[in-house]
Amino acid sequence: MSAPANMNAKQPKTFAFTPANLEKAKWFIAKYPKNREASAVIPLLQLAQAQHDNWLPVAAMDVVAEMLEMPPVRVYEVASFYTMFNRAPVGKFLLQVCTTTPCWLRGSDDIKHVCKSKLGISDGETSKDGMFSMMEVECLGACVNAPMVQINDDYYEDLTGDSFAQICDELAAGKTPSIGSQTGRQGSHPASAKKA
């Protein structure tokens, strides 16, 4: 959620892009005209977040601000506006549970319930073992296969409480659950259609 990040989180003092990411950052900046470098702020923040355990410390935002010659506060504004930027540490698996109307109608409450009962976390919390963080999100555009959850970069669709619990188990065990629809349907084919 876009609620203020937990500012009590331990912030690292410094941040630096890895040489590979620095190279990539420069490539992003070069895409924009001179004096419009600030346009690269979102890709650079994404790079920084990917490099730093899926969250953005203030130090990283300051580094981005310096690279783009913009006041740090403008970078904080962007990072806090978009929900995909995490400004406090998150677990290894970030569960983004869609609770917008279609998913809610199709049972997103069950998924939230699993998060609470199985992992012991609700919105904005991280499990004690640091494996899972959960956040409620608004529509992620997969309504046809509601309810759905985005876990890190992957979509898991057509979920039920049970199938979601199983995915969590597999992830915790280091396995790779299959992504996409959990009932096996292809794309947005009707549920009654023959399986491919």
């Binding site: 876009s2 609620a3 203020p4 500012m7 203030v58 006041p71 506060v73 904080y76 504004e77 506006f81």
Partner: protein, 685 residues
């Protein structure tokens, strides 16, 4: 020039004028929160909706440029309903806590809710609450009241040049703040309180002190720097409660510095409210006026003029200096000086010590050379003007002096005064810029001129001005940035050593050697009191500071809020203060004290009223005739050549918050030093 019709009135406006501005030209009131005529236009409050023919929906008039043939209506049922609805939305999360809000009674939201809103609320659901932000000792926050107009964000960004405020989060969770807790460190932060249309940002020292309708308002000017900002002093009874800016486009626009605004609590503390005489036991004892004058008369009796001296301080008004100068002439003393910083530059030509281009002239400059000055601390609003010019694009600023953040990029040329010679001889890259400039400007700081070689720096600055075409018909880019309010008036009336007289340094040295019998300090506190030896010191002023603690006789005067007195700002603009309150206790207006003393000394000055004094002053110095007028100074030779010292050029001000007796007595200014200057000093260690 588009022609349009607003409420059936036809008018023609300049291209680029917004519909809202056009309405203002016609005197039609359009409610607004986010629009501010000195800030950029975000159009996010939606309060200024108007109906435009051939558009399907009401339009935000602040962001709508006038077009040819446009037909605008501001009073249709659609507009009235739109305003009501916007108002209702703005009030959804606003706590209706006007009775405990400091903005109450002068709140845009309150006023406009009454004028344009519904007569009752329909919102019964939960309201959100927002955590207050810590912005330091000057600005108090109650963020739940914020309506997200972003005026504060834009002010910090655009005018102050300290972009530390922002909007974080989105929609329901949007909060204005600094993200990481930090005090807003700007010399202009108090203006955030003025731009805030609601009670989210309020004046912290003034919190819960008074209601606007209890206050008497006096329009006057500020004297804590040499800008002469136009201010309004709000008093309750005899107490100055707060100070607000007044619009003067040529001087301070509609901003004032934090010192101007917040040092007013220093007016209540450390005041001299009765005359004092130092007794035989070395302790100061309260006395009455007659005793104090008699004590001075005993000293003066039979004393030769050469062993009497007078120094006028930074806050002295023109009338008092004029009266004191005449009194010293009567006493045959040539030893007078109004430059207590010890500066000895050439004051024979007015152009040599004033801000000739005027403050508004900054907006025409394209290349600027700052010499030994930090305008951000010395004259925050002149710095804001330079920033305003820079924002428009194409301004190059070179700095000789300290390297600091002036809120706009500068070309640092070093601190060695010899750089002046390099520029003069065209050996510096910056000379090229000056040569090609259309309106070049040089700003010489008071700190540069107060040096021992100030006269030679003044000479080089004049040479640079002449070499680079800074002085011509219609443009004079030679500027001296004075830092204190009394200086220009003092120099204009020749409050400088007469033939054979001693200047400040020599007066102090002679006093130390016992050659000065009586030293008259007219509010002069910035000289080294420990070097005055056994001299009999008379201190006339309003605060118990360095001067009063050294004095043998103290004559209690008035502060700038307690008298009607003339001041010349750094431009040479004559302005007048007005009395907002009476001086405390037995204190008197300064010219009256000198007039009364002159009679006791047997040299009665020839005026009994302020009007008579001013008449005499105008007869002697025509510059004091016209208020709010800057007389262009003729350009003649001044200063002379000499060998420069290599000591680095510095600003005359290091501590912005405490520069004079009033700000030193102010608890709020002391808090600012703790909050803003100490952390920086500690970090530097």
């Amino acid at each position: 020039m588009p022609k349009l019709k607003i409420n059936d009135i036809e008018l023609e406006v300049a291209p680029g004028t917004s519909v809202l501005q056009a309405c203002e030209q016609l005197g039609i009131e359009v409610p607004r929160f986010c629009y501010h005529d000195k800030l950029s236009v975000p159009a996010n409050c939606r309060m200024c909706l108007v109906e435009v023919e051939k558009t399907p929906k009401p339009q935000a008039s602040c962001a709508l440029p006038c077009g040819e043939g446009m037909v605008v209506k501001t009073n249709t049922p659609v507009v009235l309903r739109a305003r009501k609805n916007v108002m209702e939305m703005l009030l959804i999360n606003h706590p209706l806590d006007c009775p405990i809000c400091d903005q109450g009674g002068e709140c845009d939201l309150q006023d406009q809710a009454v004028a344009y809103g519904f007569d009752r609320g329909r919102y019964a659901e939960a309201k959100r609450a927002v955590k207050d932000k810590e912005l330091g000792p000057l600005v108090k926050t109650v963020m739940t009241r914020c309506i997200h107009c972003t005026r504060c964000v834009r002010f910090a960004d655009e005018i102050a040049g300290t972009p530390v405020l922002g909007g974080f989060g989105r929609s329901e969770h949007l909060e204005i703040g600094t993200y990481i807790e930090k005090a807003v460190s700007s010399e202009l932060s108090g203006n955030l309180v003025d731009v805030c249309p609601v009670g989210a940002l309020t004046n912290k020292p003034y919190a819960f002190e008074a209601r606007p309708w209890e206050l008497s308002k006096t329009e006057t000017i500020d004297v804590l720097d040499a800008i002469g900002s136009n201010i309004r002093v709000d008093t309750r009874g005899q107490e100055v409660m707060r100070i607000l800016p007044r619009l003067h486009e040529d001087v301070n626009e509609e901003w004032i510095s934090d010192k101007t605004r917040y040092a007013c609590d220093g007016l209540k503390r450390q005041r001299l409210d009765t005359p004092y005489i130092r007794g035989v036991d070395g302790k100061l004892k309260p006395a009455n006026w007659g005793e104090a004058f008699a004590a001075i008369a005993r000293q003066v009796k039979g004393m030769p003029g050469e062993s009497i001296a007078a120094i006028a301080g930074d806050l002295a008004d023109a009338e008092a200096m004029f009266a004191l100068k005449q009194l010293m002439q009567q006493l045959k003393s040539p030893n007078i000086d109004c430059r207590q910083d010890g500066a000895q530059y050439d004051s024979s030509q007015r152009a040599g010590y004033t801000f000739n281009s005027k403050i508004s002239g900054i907006e025409q400059a394209d290349v600027m050379l700052l010499v030994g000055t930090n305008p951000r601390l010395e004259a925050s609003l002149i710095n804001a003007r330079i920033r305003k010019r820079w924002l428009r694009g194409g301004l190059k600023v070179g700095v000789i002096g300290e390297q600091t953040d002036l809120t706009y990029p500068t070309k640092y040329l070093g601190a060695n005064p010899l750089v002046l010679d390099e520029i003069l001889q065209g050996r510096n890259a910056f000379a090229e810029l000056l040569k090609n400039a259309k309106n070049p400007m040089i700003i010489v700081g008071a700190g540069a001129l107060a040096r021992k070689d100030g006269l030679f720096i003044q000479y080089r600055a004049r040479k640079i001005a002449e070499t680079y075409n800074m002085v011509r018909d219609g443009w004079n880019g030679f500027n001296v940035l004075q830092t204190v309010a009394s200086r220009v008036a003092g120099l204009d009336m020749g409050f400088v050593p007469a033939q054979g007289g001693k200047a400040t340094h020599d007066i102090i040295a002679a006093a130390g050697q016992g050659k000065i019998g009586l030293l008259y300090l007219l509010g002069a506190d910035e000289i080294d009191m420990s070097k005055l030896g056994n001299t009999f010191v008379v201190y006339q002023g309003h605060h118990g500071d360095a001067g009063a603690s050294r004095a043998d006789v103290i004559l209690p005067g008035s502060a700038y809020t307690e008298k009607s007195a003339l001041y010349m700002n750094t431009e040479g603009r004559l302005q007048s203060t007005r009395r907002a309150a009476f001086p405390p206790g037995q204190a008197k207006e300064d010219w009256q004290i000198i007039r009364a003393l002159s009679e006791v000394l047997g040299h009665a000055l020839p005026y009994d009223t302020l009007a008579q004094l001013r008449q005499k002053m105008v007869q002697a110095h025509a510059l004091f005739a016209r208020l709010d007028h800057v007389e262009p100074a003729p350009w003649n030779n001044f200063a002379r050549d000499g060998v420069l010292e290599s000591a680095p050029l510095r600003s005359s001000i290091a501590n912005f918050y405490q520069t004079d007796v009033i700000s030193r007595a102010s608890p709020t200014m002391a808090q600012c030093v703790d909050a803003f200057l100490k952390p920086v000093a500690e970090a530097a260690e």
